[in-house]
Point group: C2
Chain length 233, copies 2
């Protein structure tokens, strides 16, 4: 009897935003795996820390921050082999994922390596989008709004077209792209309708109007929320 | 000392997808409020049922299914008054919201009536989007994809423009708009890339390729997921 790999969403940062289902699975699995990178090193592991029983085996997936993709591929290959070895012994493995595993997550890199040969179950989690809405304290989309999630690294033309087609927008992965994104929003006369949310649901959470921020890079875990229409209420 | 109104996300349907935070608050509040409508009557109440202690006071918000908006406004006015009366007595109130309260939710109709005078806190929840991704078992958005949520009632021209601007799409509120949406996807030669997910995370969850479905209306709680590019992995 082989084990099951759980893609386990642990939510946006607040350890209380883990689901009952994720907490139950964490209390029962003999092995947890998680990513470690320079940006947000071990964030999923930190979120889940109080829910991982003593003595659980750990598989850290150490992610090299190189600009070419070969070292990352090698790291995923090695992690997939280590996880598969546990599954083959009949042990269940929980791969901890911040936010939701299948929404802009790195879970897919392990999933694609193992889903042909192993049983995989995904446990959805609270996304940072929803935590950002709670931080803002008003709806990020309502009624028949078209709502788009746009990664900041896309080129300016795509960014402009996607914003034009939507009523409400979340721009994710802001980081070092902040100035370029704000320039596009400036051309579209939308800066006054946007806020930057950083570390949503965490103790250091901030919500700041875009217009009041100085130029320069922002944290990786920050997101611009934009509502183009009248206020949703 | 007045009470706090919690906009409490209870997730997409599976009672285990409630967060630890929502469960803690439900165990402590003396009053819960929730919507009752013809579509999905009392769904949030049913999701949270096992977490509501005996003896808690309940404020059902009975939503008339009339085509004009006046009766709904009157129902929200009345519910806001009933909730405010409890808050004024110093009691905390949890307003149960399926999915996430601030993402296409009806929480905003109570929030807009009370936020000036009362303390309100939103507890984010797992959205049906993320549950649909788990049901599908593959990423609904990845890397630098542009991902758009489009309510099915928008007109065909807006639907077409928004789909064209995105890499991945969720079309929500499908219900009686199914044939019209599938016609647009047909014109865009995208039917073969779409699935219909119904009742994600619930016992009666289904995932069906769009091409294999007969014409006709679908359940209100169903969503079309569409990936335009190559498979995300």
């Amino acid at each position: 009897m082989r084990g099951t790999l759980y893609g386990l969403g642990v939510g946006p940062g607040d350890p209380e935003l883990v689901t009952l289902k994720a907490a139950r699975i964490l209390a029962s699995v003999p092995v947890v795996a998680y990513l470690q990178t320079a940006n947000g090193a071990g964030m999923a592991r930190r979120i889940a820390a109080s829910l991982i029983p003593d003595g659980v085996k750990e598989i850290p997936i150490v992610m090299p921050m190189a600009s070419d993709r070969a070292p990352a591929r090698a790291a995923y290959d090695e992690a997939a082999r280590a996880i598969a070895a546990r599954l083959d012994k009949g042990e269940d493995v929980a791969l901890l994922c911040e936010g939701d595993p299948l929404f802009y997550g790195s879970f897919m890199y392990i999933h694609q390596r193992l889903h042909g040969d192993h049983r995989i179950e995904t446990i959805p989690g609270v996304s940072s989008l929803n935590a950002a809405a709670a931080a803002l304290g008003r709806p990020i989309a309502a009624r028949n709004d078209i709502f788009s999630v746009i990664p900041a690294p896309v080129d300016a033309a795509r960014l402009r077209t996607a914003i034009a087609a939507a009523d409400a927008v979340a721009i994710i992965k802001v980081g070092r792209h902040f100035d370029a994104v704000r320039a596009v929003l400036g051309e579209m006369e939308l800066v006054d309708r946007a806020v930057l949310v950083t570390a949503a649901s965490c103790e250091n959470q901030t919500v700041v109007p875009l217009a009041s921020l100085p130029d320069g890079p922002r944290p990786y875990f920050s997101m611009i929320l934009l509502y183009k229409g009248a206020e949703p209420w």
